[in-house]
């Protein structure tokens, strides 16, 4: 019941901030478009090379490899810029998260973008510290998993590939579970910071850990619901995209629209999970207060 209520409330909250989701998607699109335009400009001198048209309808390894070998340097700087943009975008994500949870907490239906970004900036440093803690935890987790895996690797003393593959798969699954756990804790820590106006990210993390582990089954199921939805969207997208024939510019356009729809749905899913987590936290703390009041 708690799960169902949280998901329903999460969905309603997500629907109420759909414009903000659109804003976040738009910012992402603009970032990508700037980079795409730079790529397009660098390709302009090749538009008079008929052989490159072979790459329009499908993949041609000979054309691709000759192009990359002889002219790859002209487009490779874009990929370096891409990484820098992505790091910058991470900072934007910290602002988005603050804005979004601020919006959930203060329930302002007529919230403007200015206020949204205002919340984002208000919580920016606390969230940045939270992010650094998470990054550190991830690095430690990764190090532990790799160390254990390498102990197994060494013990094989030149084994067959299935031995190695088993260790790789098990290690990857363990790391993924721990990564997801850290992400869930991080989400609830973000919520706690906004709800309690805590200035210490570390305290928020400790509170989030307590919250998550006392309700692990519901917390996990909420997060799992998000993963299931995201996986479903991905499968649908890939099924269409892999079999989508690129025959003319219209088909390029249709596929592009499909891709953008997929990205937008990723934002929707992400917001839905965060909203559900927020709702769950609200309900749980209200219930806790009621219990305390009853007890007194």
């Amino acid at each position: 019941m708690r799960l169902k209520n949280s998901l329903l409330a999460g969905f309603r909250k997500m629907a109420s901030v759909i414009k903000l989701v659109l804003v976040m998607y738009s910012v992402t699109f603009v970032f990508s478009f700037v980079l795409g335009s730079a790529f397009s400009m660098s390709m302009s001198s090749f538009k008079s090379k008929p052989l490159l048209s072979e790459l329009f309808a499908g993949f041609d390894y000979t054309v691709f490899s000759d192009f990359m070998h002889n002219y790859g340097d002209s487009i490779s700087p874009i990929f370096n810029v891409m990484i820098m943009f992505a790091v910058f975008y991470l900072l934007m994500e910290i602002i988005f998260a603050g804005g979004l949870i601020g919006r959930f907490h203060f329930e302002s239906n007529k919230m403007k973008a200015v206020k949204f970004f205002g919340f984002g900036i208000k919580y920016f440093w606390r969230y940045t510290r939270l992010f650094l803690y998470k990054l550190l935890a991830l690095a430690i987790t990764f190090g532990i998993v790799i160390t254990i895996a390498s102990v197994f690797f060494d013990s094989f003393d030149a084994g067959i590939e299935t031995d190695y593959i088993k260790v790789i798969i098990i290690s990857a699954v363990i790391f993924l579970i721990l990564f997801l756990l850290l992400s869930v804790i991080s989400d609830y820590a973000k919520i706690i910071i906004v709800k309690t106006n805590l200035t210490s990210s570390w305290t928020a993390i400790k509170m989030a850990v307590g919250f998550v582990f006392t309700r692990i089954h519901v917390v996990a199921l909420i997060f799992l619901a998000g993963i299931v939805i995201y996986t479903m969207f991905t499968i649908i997208y890939l099924t269409i995209a892999v079999n989508f024939p690129i025959t003319n510019m219209f088909s390029v356009f249709v596929l592009f629209v499909l891709q953008q729809l997929f990205i937008f749905l990723r934002f929707i899913t992400k917001t839905f999970v965060l909203a559900s987590e927020f709702s769950f936290h609200v309900n749980e703390t209200v219930n806790l207060k009621k219990k305390i009041l009853k007890g007194s």
């Binding site: 990508s32 980079l35 790529f39 390709m43 000979t62 054309v63 991470l90 590939e161 390029v252």
Partner: protein, 662 residues
Amino acid sequence: MKKLFVFVLIADLVLAQKIFEIPLSPRIADYNIWVKVDDNSKKLYGYEILKWKNTSPDIINELHFHLYLNAFKNINSTFMIESGGQHRGIENDLNKKNNWGWIDIDSIGNSSQGDLTDNIDFIHPDDDNENDQTVARVRLNKPILPNQEIELKIKFTAKLPKIFARTGFAKDFYLVGQWFPKIGVYEYPGIRDAKVGSWNCHQFHSNSEFYADYGVYNVRITLPSKFIVGAVGNLIEKKKNSNGTTTHYFRAEDVVDFAFTASSRYKVFHDQWKHVKIELLIQPEHLGQVQRHFVSVKHAMNFFEKKLGSYPYPNLTIVDPPMYAQGAGGMEYPTFITAGSFWGMPQGINFTEMVTIHEFGHNYFMDILASNEFEEAFLDEGFNQYFETRIMDKFYGRKNSFFNLSGINIGDYEMTRSGYTYQTNPKLAQINIKSWDFKHGGYGVNTYNKTAVVLKTLENLLGEKTMNEIMRTYYSRWKFKHPSFSDFISIANGISKKNSGNKYGDNLNWYFEQTFNSTNVCDYKIASISNNELNWKLGIYDSAGTKKFSGQNDKKKKQYEAKVILHRLGEIILPVEVLVKFSDGSTKTENWSGEERSKEFKYVGKKKIKSVHIDPMQKISMDVNLINNSLSVEKDSRTSIKFTAKIIFWFENLMLFFAGLF
């Protein structure tokens, strides 16, 4: 005891089952070998009777032997110095004593020559490395006269290295190659390009493979009964001994080498292709790929039969080494090849097929055409690579024969070509040099990739029919002999002249000189296209005593000087076709000898040039940049837009991935 041994030996030799009624080869070096494998110490205890025939007109005073396993004796061998203790990226842990290998001749001689053991010394014909012990010279007490035979009894002990370069052991797996004292090839005028008689017996180098004479091998291998054994030739007999060992007796005729494998983990499968019994020794974790081995090798057998000649031997053994013995994979011995597969390899990745086809092809280019792999490695590896790409592309699809997954497709020839064209410095070395002269790299790419690309370009120029005739003639004329590159050239010249007259000049030497004997590259480029309007009526004209002004042209009479300028950027000169497409839809094919550094084609008329393509059929695939071979007046933005859309999408996903870290 000694008498009993002699009796058993004679009985064995008499009873030895013949494979071929009429010998296929000259059978210069015949070996009878008894070898015991000690599974604990990884040592071989061997006894070898070598019968060598002096087919030369010279008097032979010394014999040269390969002792290949001494390449793995210490870090001062030529092989270890050149390789740095690795082979094809696989390293050996040199700090473990058991990982090293060596071979000793304990005794050598016969009743006529006496004991020759003290007459052995190590020589190093290729370098000044006095520490290298991979070639031994045995000075004879009595010379061997022309047409005389010598029979030597050789007792030897060898220690196998941990496998990293073809041969050795790895846990319970053995691939035993280059393991016994093996006589070199005595070359004399008439054999390859020899001017005088001399031993051709090179040291074991990091890059090089091998060179040997034909012979008959009778080899008895004794090892613990738990092992499943495969080897060159036919299994004649398998006999269990009272001490828990089994002796496996193999006989091979008209081959240049002998190797064997043993492992207790093998699963054995059989199949048949015409007269050939195919045996597959595969790892249990690779059972899902049994048919991939059989199907691909049968494709190769069919192709080689049609293009060169039928596989002459009655059997073929395919060995699938485990992952921990990858260094043994992808190697060839007569009638015995090692392939390579990995657990879970998807159908869209034809790696197993590629390796199997490639290694099988060596039966033709290494064994039946026993070229000198030390000095002319490309005659084996490169010619075989050319055939591998033809077979792969024919049976698995030209554009996806190697890789076909998730919309990405790569043909085997395409991959081979890009291996050559994608080099940072394609001028690093030429194809036709001795394998150890590739001192700063380039052995693999020149010997395999560039040779295949150069042969494919030749096929495209001469036509597939002529190329097939050249290869078939080369094969039929030189099978079971030692061909050299000059032998191939003379055949190519003759057939090209017969089929094409003087189209390519008196001979094809110009082609082979530029491609095999130089580091030059081929690169043609379209520098520019221009369509200039001819304002032939613009200006003042005298007409009946008056000066009349003529303005813009009459559109109907509008004329253009359409011009295309071509550049030759590389040093290689090849005749090329140039396809010019005009605005009215018509086309014109020009022929350019390629000799000039730049060339201009000009057209005056009503039509403009729309696009120009050098070598439109992509015959000259050795051209290192095909993108600059075509140019169009009209710009096509479709590809650019398509990839821009992709970049936007990929970047959005990348950003969301980064965002997921928070």
